[in-house]
């Protein structure tokens, strides 16, 4: 994909097929989980306890996300880089911030003020923001 969109794009140039199919998937499989307060809390708790996963070792097998959480994460992670999330490490192993990308090459990453002490804590904070944003985006549907 080019960084430069056509100025008077047709719907195929706007890739509406992808957008509308993603909307359908989101409404059918993602939103029902996020709109159920009990389920949502369950997903948030699971993610907080284990934002990335844990390697298998002699005491336990590999710890990875439940199918439901993975489905939600896949949706959140395939989002556009316009308004996209990154973690920014300002001090190794000590200071992690949330960064917002514009999706346009060369434009600065906007770094938010809140500091997190680990990658995992920052990852979870981003997860919470993404869920909030997704629910807002579809609030009219």
């Amino acid at each position: 994909m080019s960084d430069y969109s056509y100025k008077y794009p047709s719907n195929v140039q706007l890739n509406k097929g992808h957008k509308h199919t993603d909307d359908f998937i989101t409404k059918k499989y993602i939103l029902p989980m996020l709109r159920d307060p009990h389920k949502l809390q369950e997903l948030i708790d699971e993610h907080r306890a284990n934002p990335v996963g844990k390697a298998a070792n002699r005491n336990h097998g590999v710890i990875q996300h439940s199918q439901d959480l993975q489905t939600v994460l896949d949706k959140l992670r395939r989002a556009s880089k316009e308004g996209g999330f990154v973690s920014v490490c300002l001090k190794l192993h000590e200071d992690y911030r949330i960064g917002i990308t514009t999706g346009v090459r060369g434009e600065p990453v906007h770094i938010l003020e809140d500091s997190y002490s680990s990658e995992e804590a920052c990852e979870h904070a981003i997860f919470l923001k993404r869920i909030k944003r997704l629910l807002n985006e579809y609030s009219g549907d």
């Binding site: 080019s2 960084d3 430069y4 996963g53 390697a55 298998a56 002699r58 090459r105």
Partner: protein, 784 residues
Amino acid sequence: MLKITGYSDKYSAHPGEEIKFYVNAEYNDNYETQIVRLIHGDTNPEGPGYKEEEIDALCNGNYKGKNQKIHGGSYIVVPQHENLNIKSFTIQAFIFPTTPDKGRQGIVTKFNEKEKTGYGLFIDENGFLSLEIGDGSQVAKISSEKKLLRKVWYLAVATFDAETKKVHLYQEPRVTSTNGGLGMAILNPLEETSASIESFSSVLPASNDAPLLIASSSLNNRSGRKISGGHYKEVPHPIELPQQQCCFNGKIDRPRLSNIALSKENIETLASSYDECNTTVRSTVIGAWDFHANIGKNISSTKIIDTSPNNHNGFIINMPNRGMTGYNWTADEIVYHHKPEEYGAIHFHDDDIDDARWDTDFSFKIPEGLKSGIYAARLRVDGREESEFEDYIPFCVKPPKGKATSKILFLMPTNSYMAYSNDNLGTNSVVAQLLAGKVPVLNPSDLYLNEHREYGLSTYSLHSDGHGVSISSRLRPILNMRPKYRHWLSPSLWQLNADLHLTDWLEEKGFEFDVLTDEDLQHEGINLLNRYKIVLTGSHPEYTSEKYMDAFESYQMQGGRVLYLGSDGFYWISEYHPDNSNITEVRKGEAGTRAWTSNPGEYNNAFDGKYGGMWRARGRIPSKVCGLTFTSYGFDVSSYYKREEDSFKPECSWIFDGIGRDEVIGDFGLVGGGAAGLELDRYDLEFGTPHNAYYLARSQDHSNMMLQVNEEIHFAVRGYYGGGHENPMVRADMIYYKTPNNGAMFAPGSLAWCGSLSHNKYDNNVSKIMENVIKGFLKDGPLP
């Protein structure tokens, strides 16, 4: 934002040789240089921590810093000549714009922006073809008023008659069923993007001192930077470059310049070939550049041939792609040197870079007797250690020329370091976090690269027009090849910094070793390896040249003993520029676990003319070279190994001395928490693993993020090609085999392996296995 960045003129040097360093002090701060030996680059508090040793050197000290910029973006320079300062003209070219809406872009220009002098054919800020004529006080602009479309070939022409003041602009799509590659073949209505505009310009082009540029325009006529030697060996006398702007994205084929306003009929004839024109037309031609004119067995040359008798030859700057399908590509041949006349295009990008061309700031002469190893020039502003205030420029100190000072060689996979240079995927690519299984974690240097696109990209990146990046130069700061650097793709480290896990462990265990680079092997071949009893690869020797493969195979056959300590090795065909080994190329073919795919008909390397992409396509799948082939990848968490039956055989049990029968091996480490992770290799008899290889151990319990490589997926079906919970192909195989003349190969099959070596103060079962293998391999005579 970063205060300091730098690079060197070479990656490795023998004692007595000199390395030059080029430094950009972003805000003109003074800085301190200190040469250091890099010992351990991982800052993780759970490991041994960061380690370096300061080295006495004459170049250590304080320097006055100055800002140095990179003039990125590729183009062709044709040096200024009075023949090019013309009043009437025809400018013509076939163009294939890939970002017509990006803003103003030069196609063929002899134009100076500041002086408002000269003439140029441009794409304007509306995405229209346009002619600009400047007389020194004003600029006349005549536009086609029709939008150019992405990935469509056009004949683009502007004529101007200084007597009649008449301008004619032609914007004619030339679409065939094949010439657009993956672009449109059905273009309807043609009128929407076609134009034939007649107009007048009372502004006459003023003569100027600007060079003629193809694919950009001059901001300043001279930059003080020159080309000569190396990949510019065909430059007769050093040529001073302009400072360019308005870089064009896309292809250009057969540009021409004449000194009268030609008729349309003559334009058409000249468009295909100067030789087909009658003598009258020929006499008007100032330059007729055929980019395919010097295609031989390859098209590594930077020279651009003017086929007219005027010899206004030019040179490509910043390494755009040559050997690209032209406006007339029929697909009858898919190799450029089989039908050069259909490969007359060059693909230019506004983020190409071959050399930063900075002034030298200091140099370091390697002292006689300095131990071979991995070193760096450490640069610090205000004496501060924080990542925004310091940069490291790594390099390798080789043993004295032609000698080995140890029995063990660590072969630094510098070609692979270059392939990953400055990838920018954390900010560019949606796939980044899907691969990593987490949000990309960026360092200050990543933020700097994001805002400084002139620093160029990696072969994992797409150019700003979506075209895959196939060329990487190390003559620029490569900010993700640094000690302390943590890579977004890994739970922690990647490439150079990860390879310090290995060299640190060697040092802790008291193994003496020399260090040489891929580039050294390219120049010296098998003789270089044959000086050593044991060769250790890095964690990810993924990109290899043909000479590397030849030497690596020969070494094993001649009795060499190898520890291949990574995964996804010997995978991509990657060739050096024949005249400058600081620059490499990889075409990513049609298959492979890859960031992009070569466009139709553009599979062969420009640098050596041979088929590019995966080694397996040229009959040299990795398993034939090291017994293993890349099988799966997942970057969230790693896992552990368990022993297999062969490990108990007398021929192999020495490798496991001190390791229990059912012991869990490597369930710890600084890379994803286990020794088996990131990328994994398996044996495969169908793919040439030696039939009597010993199968020592196998990893298991990988997550579902760990998926099988796509080049082996013919049908993407559930239940077979899934992740670690359902796919037996998702595993790391640890193997050992013997080769003739008492040679051998040991390969644990995991990219994360070396990250486990330092666990528990270097006392652990991964470390023990490694120690057993190296001690065993150091012994003379037959192996057990």
